[in-house]
């Protein structure tokens, strides 16, 4: 009975559940740069590079999936490394705009290299190789690595850079190096999400990786809160499920999507998963108990 119920549930919602996983990876990828105080919105582009690199390898050359996944991480990481040196000198809004422009350039290049990428028609017939445990494992490993990093000198360096770049440099922290690390690692995680997603949905096209996706990734992280690793994951879960939950609203559904985003920014400035607030609430509950 339960098994049958789960079977139907999984038939209907497997894709949604796995989308939650890949979106969580994306949110974590932008969390990395945000943790360093950088607003880089090139993650949609890195996701595209990862998706195309891996899909081309499995589709055209029949490479094994794990190798294609590795390539899907390596390609955006390499790209991030190449553009990182000049780009990461910028800060604040300027960095955001430069990465935005980079994202547009990537999308247009994908459109224009149609011999390889299929242009606007995209790549279709990508083998569906992603299993649920691939996504689970990828998310678990990513979370474990980031969790460790956070509680090590790297995490402290990130936070120090976020708070005061100059002071961080004078603590002996290689500011440019750590920014690059966050940027490249974020690109690799975004690429992984892209590669997993591409092998889940049979099809990828350049339109999926534009400005909207970049904003969506950022929104997930901010919505959940970037004070912890749980925040981005929570944000990804909510933003992925929200459209399903709001189905009844029909034409005005996305209006509520936007409204929720505004309300959270206004009333939950540290995101939904605000550790301090949660601790406070827990304290109140304990006192009342």
């Amino acid at each position: 009975m339960t098994v049958a119920w789960f079977g139907t549930f999984w038939d209907v919602y497997s894709n949604l559940v796995l989308s939650v996983g890949t979106n969580a990876l994306l949110a974590l990828s932008i969390w990395l740069t945000l943790a360093c105080g950088m607003l880089s919105i090139a993650n949609a582009a890195f996701m595209a590079i990862g998706a195309y690199a891996s899909a081309l390898l499995t589709l055209n050359f029949g490479w094994p999936f794990p190798v294609a996944l590795a390539a899907g991480m390596a390609a955006p990481a390499l790209m991030a490394f190449l553009i990182g040196r000049p780009t990461l000198r910028l800060s604040g809004v300027y960095l955001a705009m430069a990465t935005l422009a980079f994202g547009e350039v990537v999308r247009i290049v994908l459109l224009n290299t149609d011999r390889v990428t299929g242009g606007a028609l995209g790549l279709n017939g990508i083998p569906q190789l992603t299993r649920w445990w691939h996504v689970a494992l990828a998310l678990a490993v990513t979370l474990a690595v980031l969790w460790r990093m956070r509680r090590s000198r790297i995490g402290r360096a990130f936070e120090a850079i976020k708070e005061d770049e100059t002071a961080a440099g004078l603590m002996g922290i290689d500011v440019a190096g750590y920014k690059m690390l966050a940027f490249v690692l974020g690109a690799a995680i975004a690429g992984l999400a892209g590669a997993l997603n591409a092998h889940l949905t049979f099809f990828i096209g350049p339109g999926e990786y534009g400005f909207d996706r970049a904003v969506e990734i950022l929104t997930m992280a901010i919505l959940g809160g970037i004070g912890s690793l749980t925040g981005p994951v929570v944000g990804a879960v909510i933003l992925t499920l929200l459209p399903e939950l709001l189905r009844a609203l029909q034409n005005f559904r996305l209006v509520f999507n936007g409204l929720i985003l505004v309300l959270i920014v206004l009333f939950l400035p540290r995101g939904i998963w605000d550790t301090e607030r949660l601790r406070r609430w827990a304290g109140i509950v304990r006192r009342q108990a």
């Binding site: 139907t8 038939d11 209907v12 919602y13 497997s14 894709n15 949604l16 989308s19 459109l111 224009n112 149609d114 242009g119 606007a120 028609l121 995209g122 279709n124 017939g125 569906q128 949905t201 049979f202 099809f203 096209g205 350049p206 339109g207 999926e208 459209p243 399903e244 189905r247 029909q250 034409n251 559904r253 996305l254």
Partner: protein, 385 residues
């Protein structure tokens, strides 16, 4: 919007009463997955209207062998992930007999494999990209690809407008217009018509004069335009403003009476080829247009005509199979019955022809129809032979 919901609930109420009256009749659940929000909603909503009109007509005439059609309509937002989710919901949760949609070819590339794996018919009425029906033998469409109509459009245009060389313009970031372009190129090569220059534009562009100025300098005899109306109409207006008087040869995307409004004063001289034309006075088409205008207070377009016909085509197959019992058996029976359907509707005479997959093995089914070529003149489509 509000009126629609009201109409919906009224319809539900009426069908519920009808259901109570005829005790033995069961509803046949038909899934409809179209883009009802987002940028593609303008096509999705038109498509939904076509389905609703056809289903109402069929139900009013007593349904299919006494069974009423029940449409379960879901919004895929024009996104591939949503299309997958919606297909899964319709197939596994709502247990529909078959699914119409999705609106966009990209979504179809992602969602149709789901239907194929579940051995459920996926019937596209608006997907024109190559390769969709290669996905498998449960994938059908009655939307003609440009490959089928463009040679005819070119032939007629060349004959009437004395075309020796053309310039090409297309939207390169959209599947519909890009695949239209690919087929134009093939058709032009086949007809041995030289291309003076090829220009592109992107969705949301407001200015096309740079491209048009370049085109003007190459002195083509016509401009081949693979565009959707949103950009196609402004392109025609701006071309006329630059003193370009040569005719346009458009794809499916331009085949809409809205062109007379959106390109008012500059809408003459556009050749379009499509199985459906607003000016086609066949009795089926006249009836369709009349009924559509009465029901929705707006003029139909090609998307509505194709979905309208799609529903009728499906119902022809449905009539021949035995319902009741095993859903899986019903689904595959429907699939087996569909390929032999022949139907004459708003888009004229229709039949399927088999498509092949990448390896050349038989796969799904494409439309086989003859194109009607018409040219715009004084706010009307005039059919040319």
């Amino acid at each position: 919007m509000k009126r629609n919901t009201l109409a919906h609930s009224l319809f539900a109420l009426i069908s519920a009463t009808a259901l109570a009256a005829t005790a033995h009749a069961a509803d046949i659940k038909i899934g409809v997955a179209e883009a009802l929000s987002g940028g593609a909603a303008q096509y999705g909503i038109s498509i939904r209207h076509g389905f609703e009109l056809a289903a109402d007509e069929i139900n009013a005439a007593g349904g299919v062998n006494g069974n009423k059609l029940q449409l379960i309509i879901e919004d895929d937002q024009g996104k591939k992930e949503e299309a997958i989710n919606v297909f899964k919901k319709l197939i596994f949760q709502d247990q529909v007999l078959m699914v119409f949609g999705p609106t966009l070819s990209n979504s179809a590339q992602a969602a149709d494999p789901i239907a194929q794996a579940a051995k459920t018919v996926a019937f596209g009425t608006s997907n024109t990209a190559d390769g969709i029906t290669s996905i498998g033998d449960y994938v059908f469409r009655n939307s003609v690809t440009e490959a089928d109509v463009l040679p005819e459009t070119l032939r007629v245009a060349v004959k009437h407008a004395h075309i020796r060389k053309v310039a090409v313009m297309y939207g390169n970031d959209d599947v519909f217009t890009k695949s239209g372009y690919d087929n134009f190129v093939k058709a032009l090569e086949h007809a041995k018509i030289p291309v003076t220059t090829t220009e592109t534009f992107a969705k949301g562009d407001v200015d096309f004069k740079a491209q048009l100025t370049k085109i003007k300098a190459t002195h083509p005899d016509a401009i081949v335009l693979s565009a959707l109306l949103a950009e196609g109409a402004p392109i025609m207006v701006q071309a006329r403003q630059l003193g370009i008087t040569v005719p346009f040869i458009g794809g499916n995307g331009m085949n809409s009476v809205k062109v007379f409004d959106l390109a008012k004063g500059a809408s003459d001289g556009l050749y379009v080829g499509s199985p459906w034309s607003a000016s086609n006075e066949s009795p089926e088409n006249v009836k369709f247009i009349k009924a559509f205008e009465a029901k929705f207070k707006t003029q139909p377009d090609q998307f509505a005509a194709q979905s309208y016909d799609g529903m009728h085509i499906m119902v022809q197959a449905l009539k021949t199979i035995k319902l009741g019992g095993n859903l899986a058996a019903e689904r595959s029976a429907l699939r087996d019955a569909l390929p032999s359907v022949k139907w004459t509707g708003a888009t004229g005479a229709f039949q399927f022809h088999r498509a092949t997959d990448k390896a050349g093995k038989p796969a799904g089914y494409d439309a086989q129809q003859t194109a009607i070529v018409s040219v715009t003149k004084d706010g009307k489509f005039v059919i040319e032979k």
